[in-house]
Symmetry: C2
Subunit: 209 residues, 2 copies
Amino acid sequence: MNAVELAHQHVLAALLNGDLRPGQWIRQDDLAAELGISKVPVREALQRLTAEGLVTFETNRGSAVRSLTAADAEEIYALRLAIEPMLLERSIANLSIVDLASAGLALTSTGSSIGEANWHFHRALYAGAHWDRAVTLVGRLHAAVAPYVVLYTQELGGSSASDKQHRKLLKLCQAAKTQRAVDLLRQHLEEASAALVASLRPPAADSTS
Amino acid sequence: MNAVELAHQHVLAALLNGDLRPGQWIRQDDLAAELGISKVPVREALQRLTAEGLVTFETNRGSAVRSLTAADAEEIYALRLAIEPMLLERSIANLSIVDLASAGLALTSTGSSIGEANWHFHRALYAGAHWDRAVTLVGRLHAAVAPYVVLYTQELGGSSASDKQHRKLLKLCQAAKTQRAVDLLRQHLEEASAALVASLRPPAADSTS
DNA sequence: CATCATATAATCGTATCTGATTCTGCTATT
DNA sequence: AATAGCAGAATCAGATACGATTATATGATG
């Protein structure tokens, strides 16, 4: 594997499993030392992550995990709602046994973190669409919200509601009930959106009312 | 401006106005020499462009303008159809005089290339949505198809059909006729999709000639 | 004609250096 | 006590040089 890919995947994994918090600085020297590589590929990886919308890159200040406002979260979930149902609808009929097994495995996996398992599940269900660009794109939207989702999921002691929806969604996909599966996915995303937006709103409490 | 940004914008502009053809190699040394910078920021810019889906990056081989298959084009336009009507619908009511003027200017501009003018027009109409992520994303989809659109537009001696739709779309936006504008945009994109896909279907893509 | 060896060119990554910018903690002044 | 200013530390941006790796083209050999 490339040094660039190594650094890229390292940061990505850290975002998905909550090791990196929103706004946290990512020092080039530290990351390079940690991975045993030089600064050049680290900077390249950070540029990629910046283009992916996961990291900020301020000149002469460095990189940090990109923070989100409530408006950002609304936009991200609007995009996910525009793309993911389309992907699932296109995918279901072509899902292979392996895809469905991967999705099932992601639900029971104990090895990876919540964020990673969550994404592996969704990605497996979209595999049948054979639209790699779109899946990659959705993956970035997922990673962009992951640092926040991990935070408030930990607060609530794990989200069993989302988990339940996932199991039901998998069953609908296995049964090839396209319309019901797409509807459930939409609902799933809308609820996730509402939860994240709500958790981001509080700082905007006004004193005038 | 950054050396990285310089290189990034240079390549992006070259893609939009047809100076770079699909599959064409982008040599790090050449680009660095041309811009009077070193290879390091050039590589960083290429990594960003790769993450944006505009360029390929093969280990030990280098970067090239990303080529598209007909299936790729279908996917890209499916994404555009999923996002851009949503953006326009959200935007129209909030379009400022300046936004509308920018859009109008893009239609009559003689300074920039077809690809750039085209994108400036669409971007201006989406400004009212205040969804920067989505607009950036659509811009990348636009840039991804630009090298091909420029090619077959030149073959046909300029596309007056697309131009006509643009003018009508602008009028509808000025009159705030949201539904009709969104419908026209959808039609506009579907026709552009069909044209590009058709031009990609005959496997006559030969990059060496 | 097919295959192997070699030469060339390009990339990948490291190390090191310089300059510029930003951050931090201390001091002095009001 | 609070703030302004300043020196030093930390960090980043970028250039350059070097060796290693890999791909491609050329040519020799059977």
